[in-house]
Each structure stands twice: as structure tokens, then as C-alpha cells.
């Protein structure tokens, strides 16, 4: 029998719906960092981020009886988070993309401590902010949050094909924008990681 640490998100959610209160804390511990990262990319204040994370999980609690046993939890949770983020920006009266001036107030995309990587990070953030919202959302969910195309299609309520088209256009545009942001528009350096 698997321990609670080995249980899938869906099994934990099923346990929570069935009344196991401890499952909620486990779901939070496992998924809150991903939700933080989703919000931190767009929001400046740590308090704002924390507040939205709490709201996301409060909604998960309130909507738990809507969760279908055959559904995947992560796209379900990310749809809640994305909707709350949109509502938040609607209340503030601005687009999700923050201005570049606010870059230093936001969480880095990749915390490396390496100055060169930080420059790359700032360029990446600027490039992401210039993508159309639909493409940007798909790339964030696909690359940074690691959702599968099928999970993303659930989260953004679009077909897998449409999501792949958005991803393809977004990655292409991102590459172009990143190349333009380098001095002299130099081609990208060798990819990090060394396997390709």
C-alpha cells in the first residue's frame, strides 16, 4: 500500500473529498510552490502572491466536491489560479504583463545567483511579457510548470491541437525576441544543460 507521500495528487484529493483533512495539507505542501511561481512571475508583492495562493487553495477546498475522480488535479488547480489571477488584474485595471520597470520587484524566473544567468533571466522575462497572452500562458504552463499538452488543454479550455499551435508560435517568437535582446542580436549561446 503506498504511503501518503507516494500517493498521486488525485488520490490525495479523493482522500480529502472523502474527509481526510490531513490530505489538504499534503496537497498544499506539494502544489503551493508551483502556484506561487505561477503568480510570482506576474505580481510584484509577496503579500499579493501569498494572498492569491491562499485564495486558490480556499477555492480548491470549496469546490472539492466538483472534482471528478477521473480528472487530473494540476490542470484543475491551475485553472483556478489563472482565473483568480485574471480577476486580480481586472480589479487592478491592468494587464497581467507587468512593466519592465517592475522586473526587480518580481521573483526571478530562475534563481541562479549567476550574474550572466540573471541577465538572461531578465531578457527572458521581457520576452515573455511581449508574447500574446494566449501564447505566454501556454509556454508558462508547458515549460515552467511542466504540464503536459493534454493538461494544458484542460486548463485553458482549448483543444490539444490549438494549444500546440500556440506553443509552437510562442516558442518561435520567444527565440526571436531573445535573439533581438542580445547585443548585436547574436544567436543564442549553447543551450544550458549540455545534452543537446
Amino acid at each position: 500500500m503506498p504511503t501518503s507521500n507516494e500517493l498521486s495528487d488525485e488520490a490525495l484529493m479523493a482522500a480529502y473529498v472523502a474527509g481526510d483533512k490531513a490530505a489538504f495539507a499534503k496537497l498544499f505542501a506539494r502544489n503551493a510552490p508551483r502556484v506561487v511561481r505561477l503568480f510570482a512571475r506576474d505580481l510584484g508583492g509577496r503579500d499579493e502572491v501569498q494572498d492569491l495562493v491562499q485564495q486558490t487553495f480556499l477555492h480548491l477546498h470549496r469546490a472539492r466536491k466538483d472534482f471528478r475522480p477521473d480528472a487530473r488535479l494540476r490542470p484543475w488547480l491551475f485553472t483556478i489560479a489563472l482565473n483568480l489571477k485574471r480577476q486580480h488584474f481586472r480589479r487592478l485595471g491592468r494587464r497581467p504583463e507587468a512593466s519592465l520597470d517592475a522586473d526587480d520587484a518580481r521573483e526571478p524566473v530562475a534563481a541562479t545567483g549567476d550574474p550572466e544567468a540573471d541577465i538572461h533571466d531578465a531578457q527572458l522575462r521581457a520576452a515573455l511579457d511581449r508574447l500574446p497572452e494566449g501564447q505566454r500562458e501556454v509556454i508558462i504552463l508547458h515549460w515552467f510548470e511542466g504540464l503536459s499538452f493534454r493538461e494544458i488543454s484542460t486548463a485553458v479550455n482549448a483543444g490539444v491541437s490549438a494549444v500546440k499551435v500556440r506553443a509552437h508560435r510562442g516558442y518561435e517568437k520567444l527565440r526571436t525576441l531573445m535573439a533581438e535582446s542580445r547585443p548585436g542580436g547574436a544567436p543564442p549561446a549553447a543551450a544550458r544543460g549540455g545534452n543537446r
Binding site: F24, F28, A29, R30, A32, P33, V36, R37, Q50, Q54, F57, L58, H61, R62, A63, K65, D66, F67, W76, L77, T79, I80, L82, N83, R86, Q87, R91, G93, V109, A110, T112, A117, H120, D121, L124, H142, W143, G146, S148, F149, R150, N157, G159, S161, K164, V165, A167, H168, Y171, L174, R175, M178, P188, A189, A191, R192, G193, G194, N195, R196
Partner: protein, 271 residues
């Protein structure tokens, strides 16, 4: 295949291969021969590999606190945690019960002489926006939100329907009760209808608030919910009041919407 046309096959194997390529690159793992072959023929995966994106560290979890569920007690908490289909059924039941209360308890006296075609038109103008607004009000947050303009169009349509309903020529003058409210008693009768309509809409508004999962105060329930409640109030007074004078309908029936339109505007204002 053009540069912007990635393979769109819905077959599981292709989709899974694309995800596997992404996973390999995110974790700096070596690509298997099968994945390398896939990348060579897949524009999307080529774009992913050429984007040169960094791997990502997750923030520490120990600094995060789960939300307190201490406030999730009582009748409202119980209602809003019911499945969406149950909450929708409860709200629909309430929205049906209120007009039916008037229809059965104190129906308009002129129903027997009201032209059928006009009755169908009037009921259609009232019921269509109500039927369209319910699914929007109860769209759960775990489904992607519909664009904001959809709600705005529904609210606008409901207001147009109300204006059309009260500004059309009188449906008939064939019943003595329908001829009232055009003399000295105009304001008093109009005020009575306003109270009837607004009083009928109020319980539905409270019901929608009790069933809402968002936890906002009643006055920020939302433009569509407020308009929906106002329309049910308008339907209630339509089923109860036999007066057909357009002046009475404007003063006594259309004004039922006013407090709810005000609520709708308040809901749309920024916090």
C-alpha cells in the same frame, strides 16, 4: 508544412513524445534515439529545443501557509461547497419558486384576456435573459472563465429586454383591473409594484450570495447575478400585476431593476 504549422495529430503517442522531449530538456537529460528522431521531424519540439529556456527552481514550501479553513463553517459554507450542479439546482428552484408563489398565490387578474401571442413575447423577453444568465453566474472557477464581454452583453440584453417590455403599446385594456393606475393612484400603485418586484428579487439575491463560492460581500456579488435577481423580480411582478398602462410599467415594473443595476455597477467598480 509551414513554419507555423506544428504537427497537430491528436494521437496520444505524438503528444506524449512532445511532452517527453520537453521533460528531457527541462531536466537536462539525454535524449533517447527515438526522441531525437522525433525532434528532427517535429517543428514544435524543434522550437522548444531552440528557445534556450532555463530550468526552473521551485520556491521553498516551508515558508508557505495553507489557508485557514476555520471560517468554513455554518450554513453558507455548507451551501457553497455543494457540487455546482446542486447549487445550480437550488438557485434555479428558488428562482422558479418566487414567481410561482405570485402566480399561484396572487395571479394577475387579466390572465384570461391577455393575448396569447403577446403573453408569449413578454414572457420570452423576461425568461430568455434569466435562462442565459444562470450558467454564467454558476460557472465554477475550475473552468476557464468566459470572456468578460459575454457578461456585459447579457446584462445589456436584460436591460434592453426590460425597456422593450415596458415601452411596447399596452397589451390590452379588456379587463377592468388593467385600467387602474392611470389617474391619481398612479404613483401609489407603481410604488406597490416596485416593492413587490424588488421584494421578490431580494431573496434570490441573498440565495445567490449564499451559494456563491467567492466569499465577497453581498453588494459585490457580481453584475450578472444582480441583474439576474432583478429580472426574476420583474418576472414576479409581471405575473402578479394586471395593470397594462405603459406609464405604470415604466414607473412600477422597470424600476424594479434600478437597485439591482446599481448593485451591478457597484460590483464592477474596482475595490
Amino acid at each position: 508544412m509551414s513554419a507555423h504549422t506544428p504537427p497537430t495529430s491528436e494521437s496520444e503517442s505524438i503528444v506524449d513524445l512532445c511532452d517527453a522531449v520537453r521533460d528531457s530538456f527541462r531536466t537536462s537529460a539525454a535524449l533517447s534515439p527515438a526522441l531525437s528522431e522525433h525532434v528532427a521531424g517535429c517543428p514544435l519540439c524543434s522550437a522548444v529545443t531552440q528557445a534556450n529556456l532555463p530550468t526552473v527552481a521551485l520556491p521553498a514550501a516551508d515558508a508557505l501557509q495553507p489557508p485557514s479553513l476555520a471560517g468554513e463553517r455554518g450554513a453558507r459554507a455548507w451551501l457553497r461547497e455543494q457540487p455546482t450542479r446542486v447549487r445550480l439546482a437550488m438557485a434555479t428552484g428558488l428562482a422558479i419558486a418566487i414567481p410561482v408563489f405570485w402566480l399561484l398565490g396572487a395571479p394577475r387578474a387579466d390572465l384570461g384576456v391577455y393575448p396569447l401571442a403577446r403573453l408569449s413575447l413578454d414572457l420570452g423577453l423576461l425568461l430568455a435573459p434569466i435562462a442565459l444568465m444562470f450558467p454564467l453566474v454558476f460557472r465554477p472557477l475550475h473552468r476557464r472563465a468566459v470572456p468578460q464581454w459575454v457578461g456585459a452583453v447579457l446584462v445589456f440584453s436584460a436591460l434592453v429586454a426590460t425597456v422593450v417590455l415596458v415601452t411596447m403599446p399596452a397589451a390590452h385594456w379588456a379587463h377592468p383591473a388593467s385600467q387602474l393606475g392611470v389617474g391619481d393612484d398612479r404613483n401609489a400603485r407603481a410604488f406597490g409594484c416596485f416593492l413587490t418586484g424588488a421584494g421578490s428579487a431580494g431573496p434570490l439575491l441573498v440565495g445567490l450570495w449564499m451559494l456563491s463560492r467567492r466569499g465577497q460581500p453581498l453588494w459585490r456579488l457580481g453584475a450578472v447575478a444582480a441583474t439576474l435577481a432583478g429580472m426574476v423580480g420583474g418576472l414576479s411582478v409581471f405575473l402578479h400585476c394586471p395593470l397594462t398602462s405603459p406609464a405604470h410599467l415604466v414607473l412600477g415594473h422597470a424600476t424594479v431593476m434600478l437597485p439591482f443595476v446599481a448593485l451591478a455597477l457597484l460590483s464592477r467598480s474596482r475595490a
